[in-house]
Amino acid sequence: MFGSITNWEGDLINQFNRLQNDLQQFWGSPSGPANIRAVARGSYPSINIGVTAGSVEIYVFAAGLKQDQFELSVQRNLLTISGDVPSTRPEGTTAYLKERHAGPFRRVLSLPEDVEPDSASARYTNGVLHISFQRKAESRPRKIQVNA
């Protein structure tokens, strides 16, 4: 079935279906509520958020800045990431493709309720800004000892 030239249409449709499923999983079922601060996919910069038992880790994929060109602020559990991507266009050139983001950007994220806003640390390496928040100690999972 795979790799056949005559069967490519079916494969393409499968890929579309898969894409649609992915999107549906991402946005939840059509009737389900979405986060009020959800943004359209493709917003700049791309962000991944992960949680561990003790921390919330945020990865901001914003290449081409210097570490002091980011501005981060936290208000309760709202994190605002803003900055300005410098243009790299050399003088006197013709542009064929201009897909990279240039100029100011801003994204607001709502973090889980249990983060400690004062515990944030941020590091910029290879074009990824990694922000880490500690979670409040009382909300961490605890093991309960079972006694005989």
């Binding site: 079935m1 056949s4 005559t6 991944n48 958020i49 561990t52 914003a62 542009a95 064929y96 074009g127």
Partner: protein, 131 residues
Amino acid sequence: MTKQQNITTQSEPAATADNEPRLVLRPAVDIFENGDAIKLFADLPGVADNTLSLEIDDQTLTLQGDIALDMPGDIESLYADIRSTHYQRAFTLSSELDTARIHASLANGVLTVTIPKREEVRPRKIEVTAG
């Protein structure tokens, strides 16, 4: 007739069936040109020097890179815009470009590739003399 052909072609490439198409990120690029060279900028956030590969095969320039993030072991994803760790994109070059003298550098996740044009095709100013 065509049906029979279908069957034969379908049974052949069974070996490729295991090759699940890998989700690939298409990096955003800017391409600029002046009289001397073409300059390409590609956003590859998360790619380090040692996870980047840049290849020229005949007239095709292929750039690939893998995202290497510093992540705690027990991390669970809560939200993800980036759903793959592999970037790939290819460009066809043209014969006036001097592929032997390509220069590339990577800084803060931005790859810069400079492809100079061959000397003989660079634009020359023609002096106009009065007389």
